[in-house]
Symmetry: D2
Subunit: 307 residues, 4 copies
């Protein structure tokens, strides 16, 4: 059966079924300056990403969010199930909107999985937005139910889609509600710790490149429980983005030597004064400096025809 063939492909490419994202914080710029102007912009990272191994494209939805704190504490958020460059609206607003804090994401869903708006990043809760590039392997088999048991109201009823990513965000929100004294960074570390425990118990692997903000503080992670990881880069001194910090899955210009590799198993925190700090993320899967290989997974594709 044709669809079985698709299922098999997903299995093989599991860890390459990833996305691309970028975070901007600094001197206010137009959205266009971040997403369209760079040589390796998000049309390129969508159509011709360079550092994804097998899945060649990111055309299963996109999202944009930006803050204008003088007008509103919450971000403006646009998400879509379309390929990024299909949407002429993005091209028609991107050079008319200026912001100091911008998130952008292009998605690569596994073939056979639902592509719809509720599965597009970034996810929002009031002032906060979250996006993810990576995977919780075998998410639907056990992890989905296990994570949901830790998701408190009102976040439980706010789950709209079926991605591992949205569930991670709602786990984070639940932790912040339970422990309101935690900083964003501390709550994110606790989120990763809980995911580690669940992944250990249920036999999942984790690749967790994540970005989170409330419009003021920004938290970005690059984390993996296995020897594979998703790429991440950042710059604080790009000539293209003066007075700004930019983090991206792939450098926005490969000739711009200011881009540095984001260290693995590390959290970056950017505060309201645009000061950057790096915090190591405890990794219980690391033994003698080595991470384990990816586990074989039994993929269940969640389409109506395939279960």
């Amino acid at each position: 059966m044709a669809y079985k063939a698709v299922a098999k492909e997903v299995l093989l490419n599991d860890f390459q079924s990833m996305c691309r994202f970028a975070v901007y914080r600094g001197k206010p710029i137009t959205l266009k300056k971040l997403i369209f102007e760079p040589p390796h912009n998000f049309v390129e990272q969508s159509r011709r990403p360079r550092e994804m191994i097998i899945t060649p494209i990111n055309v299963d939805g996109y999202g944009l969010a930006w803050y204008n704190l003088e007008v509103h504490p919450e971000p403006a958020v646009i998400t879509s199930e379309k390929p990024f460059w299909h949407d002429i609206n993005v091209a028609r607003i991107a050079d008319k909107i200026v912001s100091p804090t911008i998130f952008v994401h292009v998605r690569a869903a596994s073939p056979g999985l639902l592509v719809h708006q509720a599965n597009s990043h970034p996810f929002q809760w009031k002032e906060q937005i979250f996006m993810h590039n990576g995977i919780i392997s075998d998410f639907k088999r056990c992890m989905m139910r296990a994570i949901r048991q830790q998701i408190a109201d009102p976040f439980y009823s706010h789950l709209l889609g079926t991605t591992d990513s949205e569930h991670i965000f709602h786990l984070y929100l639940s932790i912040r509600q339970e422990q309101p004294t935690l900083t964003m960074a501390e709550a994110m570390l606790e989120t990763i710790a809980r995911l580690n425990t669940l992944a250990e118990k249920h036999g999942s692997d984790l690749i967790l490149n994540m970005a989170l903000t409330d419009g003021k503080t920004i938290v970005v992670t690059r984390y993996t429980s296995i020897e594979k990881s998703a790429t991440l880069y950042y710059t604080q001194s790009s000539p293209m983005f003066p007075e700004a910090i930019v983090v991206a899955s792939e450098p926005l210009d490969y000739r711009d030597t200011s881009w540095q590799t984001f260290p693995l198993n590390t959290m970056m925190v950017i505060n309201e004064r645009n000061e950057l700090s790096m915090i190591p993320i405890p990794n219980p899967f690391l033994k003698d400096g080595h991470l384990p290989s990816a586990r074989p997974v039994t993929l269940k594709i969640s389409t109506p025809t395939e279960n």
Copy 2:
């Protein structure tokens, strides 16, 4: 806030936020004969339904399913988040496809609730499809989590959207898996019984006009736990549909006197030989011949901006 106004409207119209559906079983006909040709067809029931009290339209998605058992035991299913008449594909295939068993549904989502394909009826699991016109009031507050606890694998991981309707279907599928000796009708009665218990416990009201088939047996219900109900009609002798049984939320032709009111709190079963039987549905909310008034509900709209 504008969105608050929308939320309030939803509250007032809660029980009118309904849909329209039809079921056809009989001599094979084109899809068009059912959905486009009747005077009060599904363009009309979408744009100008007559028996919905306040919400005037059903434009938040549609779905079609039909069986061709000589080719495949599973139905062909088309669902969409679009208004029914926006989709020229439906018009271009409806007179080229012939089937003896057809389901059609047009959706009216509450304003502010997500309109996407995964929330469009009919829902499918292998040979079986299900559609619903009605509501579990206050679904997201408690009932969603409570129902999910009774949904077994693999159905749990197959939940793709956030409607009460899809959850009811997956509860039914779980009951059939647990008790494989039950007939479809018996499993549906058990589903309603479990929903009654949960509704009692969590303070929800139920309006359950439902249709279910595996391509052979068809089960249709008209049920309510309160004094309001959703309309339903059927005919076995329409000149427009010879040798067929048709059930619909509104008669497909108000001048066709063969349409009868579908009795309340009743289940219709149509077997493979197209024989029809009516079974009463036990209703624990009925006291001295009276059903209670609808409860006031505290609506939580599940958009990212509103929680």
Copy 3:
């Protein structure tokens, strides 16, 4: 045939197949203040318009445009083929964007006609945007080809859809290119004059409620060649919109007595200093104070199945 029935309906309702729009000019406000907050806002004018006679809804696409001249001379434009309230993006950006010049439009296409983004208003050319509520009757039979013969390059190759409205705008753009000394108001009068001539020749009727701006000057018309017209209202002193002029197909609040009827066969010009003037539009169809009845039209629906 079902589709024939649809075609017939279109014929009868031809002049009611209209849209709703609004124009805002004044003290910068959020988009939300205009489109969501008023009691008779654009969710209402989309779902429950009050002054459209037969076609009950405006759910065949929408559009929004706003200017932020400090950032860019061109407007930000968002158009969609979706029903207005389906799109959660609109709700999520509307309270984060502030502008002194806002256009909004919700469309009612005739059933059977293509609903896609290229047919959604407002239409844009560089700094200019245009929207229309009304009709050129029997447009596709003769008028489309006749108008196109007067559309110059580069506007000809910029026609993306099949609406009468987009053609009117491109005729206007061609006139401005041919006669660059004309003001916007003069070019719009010339556009109407040319349409009058063509309508006379080809036997079409015209209902031309139109709004046009380059971000500085705004031109709005209410015009008809027949005894029917499309409603239009305006206010300069609404308590809800201080220091602003608002024009809308239906008052945004029926209790707000500041809304006045926009006079028929009249053009409103709002200049950069927000000064308003009214100019009569010459109407050659007016004889002895009377306009003729609508002509019978032979509708050709432009779907692939119906020609």
Copy 4:
């Protein structure tokens, strides 16, 4: 400007901005057998085509058409602006529909050009459908207006989109109406002859891989006015497709040695008895066995922001 960068890319890749298509004629099979089951199926030809030089993907819409002449003389047609594999409906109907005559197409639009349903192939007029893989270079500059002058009513008013392909089909339909004694093959040769003349006059290049049918006769061409061409293959003896002729832009299985190169500047005609003949297409651009190089083109992207 970012969008300028996109425009430039389009210019360079112009002749690679192509599509993939397939035609099936033979023993009735399910749609799935053609589009999903082969190793190099249309998910693959959409995501990972092998014989397109630079543009890597075909994700800008798709279309399917099939005939069931016992039910209706016209084809069932489904077109969409979505990537092919996004649409779960296709997966859910493809194994329930059986046909002896199937067309399938996946589109690669140039970035910046409108991606909407009206631009998706196949195009339909009553019994006839048409699809195209190739280009009329610089189409919008002159050729669009010139071709339209040769398009007669009622076809002129039936033009719904802005592709060169749809215009070619409507020119063909006009020629058939003018000269009703022509066979389909003769009318297609005349269409190519007229395009040659216009291309010569206006300085365009032509790549015309086309497929046409009325459900009975099938006409397929592989033609080019320049030294570049689009690939095309066919098989009459594939073990995967017994008793059938299949034509495809890329072989559906590269290990299946029955696939042959479709000769250049040739028309294949398959009659109602499934007999195949090959007819040379006169090519006035061929001088001494050589075709000219592609001309430099000045691309005009037809988005509202870019003209």
